[in-house]
Symmetry: C2
Subunit: 176 residues, 2 copies
DNA sequence: GTTTGCATGTAAACGGTTACATGATTGG
DNA sequence: CCAATCATGTAACCGTTTACATGCAAAC
């Protein structure tokens, strides 16, 4: 999903500034599935404004840039729904870790172990982050997505813990 | 992982042409984790050649472009291992489906059901594709990655089948 | 006293995809 | 007869990231 669509989606839940949009997606617990940087969010919002999908009001502030609060327009809302009704792009799960594991036999086994440990740590962190959010005040969709994340993370952890020996127990044929 | 590194990785397993590199990754069962198009593979191979990471020999063919068979050089091999030993970029799982599910309440429930069906079908296909490859003649790493894929796909399917009602059973508050 | 949070934006660079160009052979 | 397989490559385009620019206030 492109940043434009992500922004529209967030704005269906309420008005927000560019800054807040970024925070909402970082803290919402979806950061694994959807992400965006300021360098893409701000231009996306300007373009959405030009196209009439969102409207802005500037709130003056002292000693800070004006807050630009964006609202989705009826046109923007229809466009957003229309995007979701069209066939969606496929998932892409880019995993440098998985790629590296394909070549575990080329690496010192101590390093493979360290990589697995590190990856497990990362997934544990994401799980903890997910669990730190209460399910209250969430839509059905949000709760569904969070449960989905938990399930996938837990399956991942379980797999790594029970199968790691298979790539750790081979004769080190390490780098020259 | 960038296309350059992917190409180097494949070439550690044996010589190949650009065309074959693409096929290997499509058929290897990793296509969900790593992917690349010709438009990125061919330039990557030229650059790797210029930099001394791979070498080429041209095999003349009648009525077809010459096959350019690439081999990884010792320098390329060390560089590849060095890349894997450095801290890896984080996984990114971009899922338009998950994103859409966050907004299930904005969509007609029949469409949500159709989306879930479609997504389940896709995952089933990937699972079948994974299972169609025998584990024989695979490295430990490859077997590990395939098992990992199976685990994650199965957990996904299981979750969707047991939890889909949670997003399907809400009053349709569809698009205007 | 330094980091974090608030708050916006631009420009250059990057990596990649898509479409195009070419063209014979084989299988359905 | 048409689609797929083999086989390479270029060029335009696209979306995004990264770095830069600015700057105060509050928390640690």
């Amino acid at each position: 999903m492109d940043v434009r669509t992500i922004c529209l989606g967030i704005l269906t839940r309420g008005d927000a500034t560019g800054y807040e949009i970024k925070k909402l997606f970082e803290e919402g617990g979806y950061e694994h599935f959807v992400e965006a940087s300021f360098g893409s969010i701000y231009p996306a919002l300007s373009r959405l404004t030009d196209e009439g999908f969102v409207s802005v009001r500037s709130e003056a502030q002292e000693k800070r840039p004006d807050r630009k609060v964006y609202s989705i327009t009826p046109v923007g809302r229809s466009a957003f729904v229309a995007t979701l009704l069209k066939p969606l792009p496929e998932d892409r799960h880019r995993s440098p870790f998985v790629f590296a594991m394909l070549f575990a036999d080329l690496l010192p086994q101590a390093h493979v172990s360290a990589m697995v440990d590190h990856y497990i740590g990362q997934v544990e962190e994401k799980l903890a982050h997910l669990n730190s959010h209460s399910d209250a005040s969430k839509s059905d969709g949000e709760r569904f997505v969070m449960d989905y994340g938990r399930t996938v993370y837990e399956a991942t952890l379980n797999f790594l813990r029970t199968h790691r020996a298979e790539i750790e127990n081979q004769p080190a044929q390490a780098a020259e």
